[in-house]
């Protein structure tokens, strides 16, 4: 895999977004433990390289339909930590104005983002439709979407692979294979350890990538997006990673062998990229920790903003069911 050449500046951007994502995640979890959260929420620890690397590979006019572990993607595409935190806390200033929970529903077409719904993997056909709208209008744009290893067992995944191939849709689908679907390990989910084999069954090219290597993710996604934008059709990418925490905030994930977690902890995408950057001389430890502090400040101010934000007015509860 030859990586598309990234400048030092770009590499630092990748790092910044991963670090921001991790910081957000850590602070969110801490808040919840303190009882300051509302409802449940999902951690994306371990997934930073995928959400960030993929979003970084997009062009501004591309559109993405992320899933519940793609916080980095939302951030990079321009949803501010403030609005996201306010969403998590159900405030009027959140993206859904208190209508949808945690990372659900965080759609904003100004930023080319489709809001997520729980029913897995509903983002896929919607992203296909976005891609088909580009094809319909003869625009050189691509749609990108994500799906979990678990959700790849849902028939909708196959329907979309097949239709994307039939229609030669400018679509990139990334399977975030994090080994688990809630408590169910991949071996109970399917007999094929490599989900990328599904691509060939529907006539699509399939690529596997190390989901903990942000530059590798960037590179394969960029190639797939370029291909899609150039009229070459859809690609299925399998990014291998590990879900490092429970399914959601309440879940201790006792069912995951501790050795497996330890093995993957050593491949932590953020730590690993810090090593790369230092080795390549892109940044030293001090510079990296400065970025970290910047992220910390941003997230703290986002939390402050969110907690200070007003609750939605109950009198508005019935507003917005229909578009005018």
């Amino acid at each position: 895999m030859t990586h598309t050449q990234l400048s030092p500046q770009q590499k630092l951007e990748l790092y910044y977004w991963m670090r921001l994502t991790r910081t957000f995640d850590d602070r969110m979890l801490a808040l919840w433990k303190q009882g300051r959260g509302v409802g449940g929420t999902f951690s994306e620890r371990g997934h930073e390289a995928i959400g960030v690397g993929a979003a970084y590979a997009m062009y501004p006019d591309d559109v993405v339909a992320p899933m519940h572990r793609d916080l980095g993607c939302y951030l990079l595409r321009g949803l501010s930590p403030r609005r996201i935190f306010a969403n998590l806390l159900g405030r009027e200033t959140g993206i859904t104005r208190g209508r949808d929970a945690n990372l659900h529903g965080m759609g904003d077409l100004e930023h080319g983002i489709i809001g997520f719904i729980s029913h897995l993997p509903q983002s896929l056909p919607v992203a296909l439709g976005v891609a088909m709208s580009f094809r319909y209008r003869h625009e050189a744009r691509a749609a990108l979407t994500f799906v979990g290893d678990g959700a790849s067992s849902a028939g909708l995944f196959a329907e979309v692979l097949n239709m994307a191939a039939v229609f030669n849709a400018p679509l990139v689908i990334i399977v975030e294979n994090n080994q688990y679907a809630y408590s169910t390990p991949l071996s109970q989910q399917t007999k094929v350890p490599d989900l990328v084999v599904r691509a060939a069954a529907y006539g699509l090219p399939g690529v596997t990538v190390d989901g903990n290597d942000v530059e590798a993710v960037y590179s394969v996604v960029r190639q797939a997006i370029d291909r899609a934008r150039g009229g070459g059709g859809a690609t299925l990418i399998e990014a291998k990673t590990m879900r490092m925490l429970g399914h959601a905030i309440h879940d201790g994930a006792e069912y995951v062998p501790r050795e497996l977690l330890a093995e993957w902890e050593a491949k932590d995408p953020l730590r690993r990229y810090e090593g790369v950057l230092q080795q390549e001389g892109v940044a030293d430890a001090v510079e990296l920790s400065e970025i970290g502090e910047r992220c910390q400040r941003e997230i703290e101010s986002a939390i402050e903003f969110a907690e200070d934000s007003p609750w939605p007015d109950p009198a508005t509860v019935s507003e917005g069911v229909y578009a005018p």
């Binding site: 559109v63 339909a65 993206i95 859904t96 209508r99 949808d100 659900h104 529903g105 965080m106 759609g107 904003d108 077409l109 489709i114 809001g115 719904i117 729980s118 029913h119 509903q122 896929l124 056909p125 919607v126 992203a127 296909l128 439709g129 976005v130 891609a131 088909m132 709208s133 580009f134 094809r135 319909y136 749609a143 028939g155 909708l156 329907e159 979309v160 097949n162 239709m163 039939v166 229609f167 917005g320 069911v321 229909y322 578009a323 005018p324």
Partner: protein, 343 residues
């Protein structure tokens, strides 16, 4: 058996030039054609809609030749995905019109409709303007899976709109309104009316606003509230009742969601006696909502119990004598109306 096999009248939709006698199905085709000519964002998708074929009922016959295969998109057999695809297209400003081959198969697309499309605007403020055309209803010996009337499920779902034309003119006017509406609209068209019902259809742009019922016949003694295929039956029944000196008002709902509450309450208050009729299963069919609405907001005007005549609470049976027993029709409406009038 009195009725013979119709095979749903699978022939080409007549390009009827006589606007006085246009068929219900030709009115549907015309509405689609006009809207596609008017707005490049309108496209059609579904199983077998394209090619020379033009759909199981030939509604889009000739469309691919006029509009090209990109705007008349033949899909693989995958309702959930192609309806989800319509969600994405609609979000990007297109106006897809999805044909499910029979209304019965709309259940296969259920998640894409009731979970995604219905909730999106409420959750994050983006509109999902599509139309699903669903050929519904029976009486034509097509059995449990080609005769269904699933509208109640969608009327119960916030965020959707539901229409059900009963005449050729409304078939045209409601379809145009549905395509221009900024919300997901399910358009239940009546298979039994396709070629058996003809009438005047205004030329050119003709819009029947969503949310407005039609007082199809005025009367004083009793209100028959209905929609779709059963409007014709109710009108036949009203004539029969008139001969027996019972003056029946017939309200054709046209839109099932949102309901035209005022029109419903007006007729209920006027006559004080209400009979609700639909082909769909009676239990928790739309009639239940209408009865409940009246029992709450027109209670003091009522002079008798609220009657409902629906399809029986069974799957739709195939065999002619069973299906005839299953379905409401003019004779059954007359009987129920007379009972109610005598209350």
């Amino acid at each position: 058996m009195s009725e013979t096999a119709t095979n749903f009248g699978f022939t080409d939709a007549a390009d009827d030039q006589d606007r006085q006698q246009m068929s219900y199905i030709a009115a549907i085709s015309e509405a689609l054609r006009l809207e596609m000519r008017r707005d490049e964002n309108v496209l059609i998708l579904g199983e077998d809609v394209g090619g020379e074929f033009g759909g199981a009922f030939k509604v889009t016959k000739g469309f691919e030749a006029e509009f090209g295969p990109e705007r008349v998109l033949n899909t693989p057999l995958a309702e959930l995905a192609f309806t989800g695809m319509a969600n994405g297209m609609a979000l990007m400003g297109l106006r897809p019109v999805v044909e499910v081959q029979f209304a019965d198969f709309i259940t296969t697309a259920f998640d894409s409709i009731v979970q995604f499309a219905a909730t999106t605007h409420y959750r994050w403020g983006s509109a999902v303007p599509w139309v699903i055309r669903a050929p519904s209803d029976g009486g034509i010996r097509s059995g449990p899976f080609h005769s269904q009337n699933p509208e109640a499920w969608f009327v119960h779902t916030p965020g959707l709109k539901v229409v059900a034309p009963a005449t050729p003119a409304d078939a045209k006017g409601l379809l145009i309104a549905a395509i221009r509406d900024n919300n997901p609209v399910i358009y239940f068209e009546s298979k039994p009316l396709y070629r058996s019902l003809k009438g005047y259809v205004p030329a050119g742009e003709y819009i029947v606003p969503i949310g407005k019922a039609n007082l199809a016949r005025q009367g004083d003694d009793i209100s028959i509230i209905t929609y779709g295929t059963q409007v014709r039956e109710a009108l036949k029944a009203a004539e029969q009742l008139a001969r027996e000196d019972i003056s029946a008002e017939v309200l054709d709902l046209r839109t099932l969601k949102p309901l035209d509450e005022e029109a419903i309450l007006d007729t209920a208050r006027k006559t004080g006696k209400v009979l609700i009729v639909h082909s769909a299963n009676r239990m928790l069919g739309l009639g239940a909502e209408i009865a409940a609405l009246i029992a709450e907001r027109a209670f003091t005007w009522l002079d008798g119990p609220i009657y409902r005549l629906g399809g029986l609470d069974t799957p739709v049976p195939f065999s002619p004598p069973l299906e005839d027993a299953y379905r409401p029709n003019a004779a059954k409406i007359v009987q129920a109306a007379k009972e109610l009038a005598a209350f």
